[in-house]
């Protein structure tokens, strides 16, 4: 198991220093703090509608294009 060299943690002397380090580096929050589903409203709602239309048009065009190429 890899160990940290003393010179790299000279600035951590007490539990408090370690806690501060862990908190600042977000080491233990990693992958834990939940991210909630966003409420889509306003310009974002419009953007999603435009995106769906864009994807639908592109997919149809691409399918037609590939059929044409084949």
């Amino acid at each position: 198991m890899e160990k940290a060299k003393k010179k790299y943690y000279d600035f951590i002397k007490t539990e408090e220093d370690w806690n501060r380090f862990v908190k600042k580096e977000k080491l233990l929050e990693y992958g834990i703090k939940p991210v909630k589903r966003a409420k889509i409203k306003g310009w974002a709602k419009l953007a999603f509608i435009v995106l769906r239309i864009y994807i639908a048009i592109m997919v149809v065009l691409v399918v037609l294009g590939f059929l044409h190429l084949l």
Binding site: M1, A4, E16, V22, E25, I55, G65
Partner: protein
């Protein structure tokens, strides 16, 4: 690593024994493997931050570079190198030189947003899309990314086999060497060493810069191109096609996923944003310098005024290298081949990692290059499989590689607007970004760039399947 295993961070913050001397190595031993190794890296950075010496400042700067330079150089992949070589061969020295300089802020502004997202949320792009916008958009993004990444890897292996072919290596051996090289870096090194090894590989991308001097270009012509933005062969369908191809080469969906995940794995926190921005800007400058070098090289050695009716397929890489060999000799061709192999390798390293990270983020698997293969096999296997599929495709006789290349670009053109929209939505999301949301100026720049990219992506996608439409 279970979500609850280390979830109670308060037990550290509220410890009544706060002034008790601490054994850092004992504390590190309590952490899971990936977080422990990241903590060791971050201790080194913390130590450098606490030192006021100039040497420490310099070492800190070096320690904080990585994802930005990697993503930008990996963007100059085998397909990119071939696109730039074709651009110079067909259009010479003119419009595309200043155009590539313009790509520096474009690439920087887009990628910078992934830095802030990573530093603030400590999550990758795939994870954020999945959790914030639901499983439909999460799956849509993931599937698109996986298909595009696998097919892009095919173009990387084409570059690797072609480049090694110049040195007489048979395709099957070239592919095996490529796979062995990427696996060795990915599976035997922890994140910090993987990043450093990848940066060394990336450094070989710079080989194209001294290569320019073999061609003895007219530097006055290069300089004057910034004033005139001259298109030697005039505006044509081919010009628009090459313009779109260069734009598509500059910003690809995998880059957003790669840099955000890489910054998370590196341990980037808000305090590092300034350094990560510097890293990305340096990377963007290198990317443009290499692209310009290739365009100037082929624009000098291959371009002639009679190419106005040329096609990109007519100017394939074999033809271009034959022309370089004829005019400049064998050495520049060999150096170009080394650059092409390197471009394929560095992009394979980055794209394989981006596939693994995205899968890990989407499915909640452990997701760090700090993990050993045994502990992180779920994380490593998707990337490895995508690489193996690409390698096998390249070795299949008579496989329609042109068609596959076209498919990857079409998928990217459909996927790009979605990826950019999610990026913009996430980076403006006050609930998750707090004070790090885009400023009005950043939004204005981002919206203009994204608008142009989305329009161009759409046009490019359509032009690929309906070549006579534009």
């Amino acid at each position: 690593m279970g979500a609850g295993q280390f979830g109670d961070t308060k037990r550290y913050a509220d410890s009544s024994a706060a002034k008790v001397p601490v054994d850092v190595n004992l504390k590190l031993d309590e952490l899971p493997q990936d977080i422990r190794l990241r903590a060791i890296d971050r201790l080194k950075i913390g130590s450098l931050r606490h030192s006021k010496s100039r040497l420490a400042r310099m070492l800190l700067m070096l320690a904080l570079i990585g994802p930005g330079i990697l993503v930008m150089i990996a963007d100059n992949d085998a397909g990119g190198v071939i696109t730039y070589a074709q651009t110079g061969s067909i259009f010479g020295i003119g419009f595309f030189i200043p155009f590539m300089v313009l790509m520096v802020p474009v690439a920087y502004i887009v990628q910078e947003m992934t830095i802030r997202l990573a530093a603030v949320t400590r999550r990758g792009h795939a994870e954020m899309i999945w959790h914030r916008y639901g499983s439909f958009w999460g799956a849509f993004s993931l599937i698109d990314l996986l298909i595009a990444n696998s097919l892009t890897l095919v173009t990387e292996f084409i570059g690797i086999t072609f480049g090694m072919g110049i040195f007489g290596v048979k395709p099957v051996y070239a592919v095996m060497i490529g796979i062995a090289f990427v696996l060795a870096i990915m599976l035997t090194l922890r994140y910090h060493n993987w990043e450093r090894a990848s940066l060394v590989v990336a450094a070989f991308n710079l080989i194209f810069i001294p290569l320019v001097f073999f061609a003895h270009p007219n530097w006055l012509l290069v300089a004057s191109s910034f004033g005139s933005w001259h298109v030697p062969s005039g505006f044509s369908t081919l010009f628009i096609y090459v313009l779109l191809a260069n734009l598509g080469t500059t910003i690809a969906p995998w880059m957003l996923f790669f840099q955000q995940s890489s910054e998370v794995d590196k341990g980037t926190v808000p305090e590092d944003i300034k350094a990560a921005r510097r890293d990305t800007f340096i990377g963007a400058c290198i990317m443009a310098s290499v692209a310009i070098a290739i365009i100037v090289l082929t624009g000098t050695a291959v371009f002639s005024a009679h190419t106005s009716d040329a096609t990109t397929s007519g100017y394939n890489i074999a033809f271009i290298l034959a022309a370089i060999s004829h005019k400049l000799g064998v050495l520049p061709v060999k150096l170009f081949a080394i650059g092409l192999i390197d471009a394929g390798l560095i992009a394979t390293i980055a794209i394989t990692a981006s596939t693994s990270w995205a899968m890990g983020e989407a499915f909640g698997w452990p997701k760090s290059i700090n993990l050993s293969f045994l502990k992180g096999r779920k994380f490593y296997i998707p990337g490895i499989i995508s690489m193996l599929i690409a390698a096998i495709i390249v070795l299949i006789p008579n496989v329609p590689l042109g068609f596959l290349n076209l498919t990857v670009q079409v998928i990217a053109s459909i996927f790009m607007p979605a990826a950019l929209l999610f990026l913009l939505l996430l980076v403006n999301d006050k609930e998750i970004m707090g004070a790090y949301v885009n400023s009005k100026l950043q939004n204005a720049a981002s919206i203009i760039i994204m608008g142009v990219l989305i329009l161009m992506s759409g046009l490019y996608g359509i032009s690929l399947v309906f070549p006579n439409l534009i």
